[in-house]
Subunit: 686 residues, 2 copies
């Protein structure tokens, strides 16, 4: 059956590309930076705009708060980066937030983080792609006119790329990311030179617009609340920072040190870009409104619903480079591409987290094989589906989608940092070396501050965004949490059911003899093979069993049996209703009744085929029979395969599949080292 | 996986009803008549109308041809009934048209008949239900206002009834059929008395309308063509006549005689009703137009698209009984019900024919179990789906749907009758008894005339209806034919591939020893059972194999193995990528390479679960591993089941399913007697 459901996938995706196992190379910092930083760096494409947009609720005059908000974001960014540098050192095996929370705070905290991250991955895809489309749209209007369709198109494209695998994924990330970072820095430098040195007046396309404030002259608590909301939106710049802590094993040695410096470098870049863009937006008088159609006024009149509000980064680029200029176009394209790559990181992270969760039995067991194509495929299809649904519902509007975002990130930031505090506490209890103790205490202080600050931000985010859409993200988390808890409970119940009771004699009486039955319909090669194999097994008794549905066929079978003088007795059961399954089940049951201490072994010749449709034509009766037989206690069922010529096709397919490689899979690192710090695990159990 | 796809079905259908195996009782004639005759008798509800409707193309004046057309239909009906009485006597085992054609004319003719019948079953559902809705609509206008929705609703209802099974199916057919037949006869008698004796003037609701003829004053070839087209439409009255020839085994003894008299009785009833309704329609001046909105004139003006053209039978009933009278309502309801029952006969016939075709390897093998619930379910879902699509496309318009109908019926009539001629020819070659010879020659003459007449009608139908929609039916036949041929070819190719070559020594070297491997992940009850069973089999070597994906778990496994002093050697394979399948496959392949003459037997502990979702949580890795292992030559795979407590639920479900009974399944008769006349089969092979 799996073949059947595979078909549409195969038609869409084609054969996987042959790839030189990139997963086996370690990443130098210059590649690691773009591979891990596309997500956090790309968020500077939308975060500044969101800040201005929220401030505009109180009118343009509120824009003068934006540097302060930027400052708050910068402080937060440094705190988070500093905190995760501790994680990276403490968990060189790549302990992500889930594992840090799970090990240090217990399974409930771990599962909460996991639910938050799963929701977050979905939103990373939706937000990044929506924003990418908007940036692309500032250069190519067609794209923004068909926003939802284009966004879903990009989701589909990314999904296919991931299902199919790519030849080279390191460079794929490196080039656009460096172009983007370089472009933004050139823009900031050029803008600063033009403004400060050359004294040019740079005007954003919206510089002459005014904003009809929703709440003019906001003050007191209402103003504070608005500023907090603007800050919450700005915090979108922090998403993705945690990714490096998962990816330490992918770095070259010294792994932790390299990861930590990459993290610092990334933080520095993100902060500079974020502040530079905000500063340029102020200088070029960018105007953003929450509902531009009615609130953005051109000569006192609303711009109307036909107006497209371009992202801040593109408005600034237009002011600095000039509309339609080469650099403007390049930056728009690079921004869009980096945002799509940021979305791709979720395609990597989602199934990877799924495999870790499966290992802990929160998700179906078979997903736990890392790098397994099928598990990976299911994960990304689920991720892409959820992201596409959100994109469709919210009309690919990045501003609306961002309201849902960040909740998950800060839930996992806070719990992870709290977990780290516990981690240091535990280590301090046993550590005696004063130098090490001092170092640990410093780390603990950083993590504690990180936990405090991110926790505070989480509260702010929840307060300011709950009704704006954060409830959707929370609902998603609750659903993931409940599902995973239910799965874990099921596995626990089964584990208990199948555990061996310690008192002796509790086990069912062991079978003493085995009666073998080979199912036979005709005398052909598969039957002879099944008979030969069954004979090899030297069971106590062996007989061939056939169900008579057509007297003529049965007679032919008997004659042939005789003619070939096959030395296994042939038993024929009548089946007036031409049923196959029931007579066999009844016969097996009667054998078991006769001698309840014996086991019955049933051999079924099975055809191995190469095409999905052949599954419809073969083995169906055998499969159903097997399904029913397994319900009967004391029975085992042996499939004796006969490989039809067509099975070669499936073999070749399987070989190709085995060589498949996911884009961005370099992040996972080369070896699945023992993933947990076992001592710590033991310690928490105490 | 089958469990998964089963789920929506189960939610919709619920549990099957317990039923007292009706299939095991034989039918007395008084029950057999309604069970088999609902289809042919119900067609008098639409056939007379179609005749008038086609004639109206040449204006009302052409209506005076209708008695002649009725006469032609009557002659044809008697011919067909007489012909099938020969079939019933010659094939007391219930040889349907497919088998008669297959045995006597060869597989291509058989397959053509089968394709025709399959298309016909779909159309029986679509036409009968559309007509039923129109009849119901003459009493309840709401129904006809939402024609398509109601028709599809009835299809869904019938489908659910068939999937679920019913308690009692004989009476279900008997009561509405007798009410319908009784009602029509009362109507004819009462109408005749009122018109001829009492001298009342009965007027149909459309009596005062006039018809704007499409082609006024048609003459010559055009008129002949129109009359032939009207005749073709009238032939819809003959659909379903062949059904009894399939159902002879369901009759009480003497089976053939009883079936033949039922057939004659049915023919007599159908003819009387058909003629009576045409006569009353003429007397009450019913007016029917092909496109009533524009061609039916009330006081010289078209009635417009809001007008509903009621079926002839209901217009006549209105004229005879009075609009809204009790008898009028009863007859409308009974007509609709009989038409729905007629549709239901296709629900029985379609999967039954499917099982016969599967027996001959034209359809997937597993369908060949007659009375098997799953095969039956797939068949009726396919049937209902196709009928619903046609109903939707043609807007549940019985007139449009009838254009597609009849082609299939006459293809199978013609080929079946031709086959019967061959049958008698063959028997006459060996028969010497003059009395018997005379009898056979008489039968042959009847069948020859039947073949000639039905063949002629087939040509007429094709000529007059091809562009009106018959091409759709032909296309459907071609698709069925091509698919079934392809399936048969596939099976034939496989059969050749697996046939044993007669020269000795051609077979692959038989394995001499067997190496057994028990897959182990933890020490729990299922593992111990698998080990115990594997030991029972006394293979040459036995080892337990575990894949190490987590060093701690592996160590725990080794310790437990030691502690319990399990006397089977434990081998652990490392899997750096946490893969399960590949290391096992590689290991098995290496064993095979070491000693190519040995076979490898792999034991996999498998969980037996009771709920569909549990399949997602268990055995997936095992299933995939098994799928891959079977591609490796020299390997057999044994599932050692462990029944989880939840499996009891599935067992109970299976038990209930086994007691399921399809509505109308009485038609199939109690025993699947050897279905073919083996001597004849042998004869055709010569």
């Amino acid at each position: 059956m799996s073949k059947l459901t595979d078909l549409p996938k195969r038609i869409l995706i084609g054969r996987a590309l042959h790839s030189n196992k990139l997963g086996e190379t370690l990443l130098p910092k210059r590649i690691a930076l773009p591979v891990f930083a596309s997500d956090p760096l790309s968020s500077v494409a939308y975060a500044p705009g969101e800040v201005l947009l929220v401030l505009s609720v109180a009118g343009v005059s509120a824009y003068h708060f934006s540097p302060w908000i930027a400052l708050a974001v910068v402080v937060l960014m440094f705190t988070v980066v500093a905190s995760y540098r501790q994680n990276v050192h403490a968990y060189p095996s790549g302990g992500g937030d889930y594992e840090v929370a799970n090990v240090n705070l217990g399974p409930k905290a771990g599962l909460t983080v996991a639910s938050a991250l799963l929701v977050d991955y979905v939103l990373t895809v939706a937000v990044s792609i929506a924003s990418g489309i908007e940036n692309l749209g500032s250069a190519i209007p067609f794209v923004v006119e068909h926003k939802t369709a284009c966004a879903i198109g990009v989701i589909v494209l990314l999904t296919l790329m991931n299902l199919r695998g790519v030849r080279e994924s390191g460079k794929l990330f490196a080039i656009p990311t460096y172009v983007f970072v370089g472009g933004v820095f050139i823009m900031i430098a050029w803008g600063a030179w033009r403004g400060l040195v050359a004294g040019d007046t740079m005007k954003a396309p919206t510089a002459d617009y005014t904003i009809s404030a929703e709440h003019q002259g906001l003050a007191g608590f209402a103003l504070v609340f608005l500023l907090l909301r603007a800050f919450s939106s700005g915090c979108a710049a922090l998403t993705g920072v945690e990714a490096i802590s998962n990816g330490v094993p992918a770095f070259r040695k010294p792994k932790s040190k390299n990861a930590a410096s990459t993290l610092a470098l990334m933080g520095g870049l993100a902060v500079t870009m974020f502040c530079g863009i905000i500063a340029l937006a102020m200088a070029t008088k960018v105007r953003m409104a929450e509902h531009p159609a009615t609130e953005l006024l051109n000569n006192g009149k609303p711009v109307g619903s036909g107006y497209t509000q371009n992202p801040v980064i593109s408005q600034v680029a237009e002011a600095v480079f000039g509309n339609g200029s080469f650099l403007f176009i390049v930056l728009a394209a690079a921004t869009a591409l980096v945002l799509f790559l940021a979305a791709n990181t979720a395609y990597n992270g989602f199934p990877l987290l799924g495999s870790i969760l499966a290992q802990d039995r929160y998700l179906p067991r078979q997903l736990h094989t890392r790098g397994d194509r099928l598990a990976f495929s299911n994960g990304i299809v689920l991720l892409a589906g959820a992201a596409a649904v959100l994109t469709y519902i919210y009309g690919a509007d990045s501003t609306k989608l961002i309201q849902l975002y960040i909740v998950g990130v800060f839930v996992s930031f806070t719990l992870s940092q709290t977990g780290m505090v516990r981690h240091w506490n535990r280590h301090l209890r046993t550590e005696t070396d004063p130098a090490k103790r001092r170092h640990m205490m410093r780390s603990r202080a950083i993590n504690a501050f990180g936990a405090f600050l991110t926790g505070l931000v989480l509260v702010v985010v929840l307060l300011t965004k709950f009704t704006h859409g954060a409830w959707v993200a929370l609902l998603g988390m609750v659903i993931f949490y409940a599902t995973m808890t239910a799965i874990r409970k099921h596995y626990d119940r089964v584990a208990e059911e199948i555990a061996i009771d310690e008192e002796p004699g509790d086990e069912a009486v062991r079978p003493s003899r085995v009666h073998s039955i080979v199912l036979v319909s005709k005398v052909h090669k598969p039957t002879l093979r099944a008979l030969a194999y069954a004979k090899l097994m030297r069971s106590d008794t062996l007989e061939a069993l056939s169900i008579s549905v057509d007297p003529a066929e049965t007679k032919a079978l008997r004659d042939e049996w005789h003619r070939r003088s096959i030395d296994v007795p042939l038993k024929v059961l009548d089946s007036p209703y031409r049923e196959i399954t029931r007579p066999i089940i009844d016969y097996v049951k009667s054998l078991r009744k006769e001698s309840p201490r014996d086991a019955v072994s049933v051999y079924i010749p099975e055809y191995v085929v190469g095409h999905w449709y052949e599954h419809l034509l073969h083995n169906q009766s055998a499969l159903r029979l097997k399904g029913r037989l397994l319900f009967t206690p004391g029975v085992m069922v042996t499939s004796v395969p006969w490989q039809l010529d067509s099975s070669e096709a499936a073999k070749k397919r399987a070989r190709k599949h085995a060589e498949w490689n996911a884009p961005g899979s370099v992040r996972r690192g080369p070896v699945a080292a023992p993933k947990k710090d076992k001592k710590e695990k033991a310690a928490t159990k105490k």
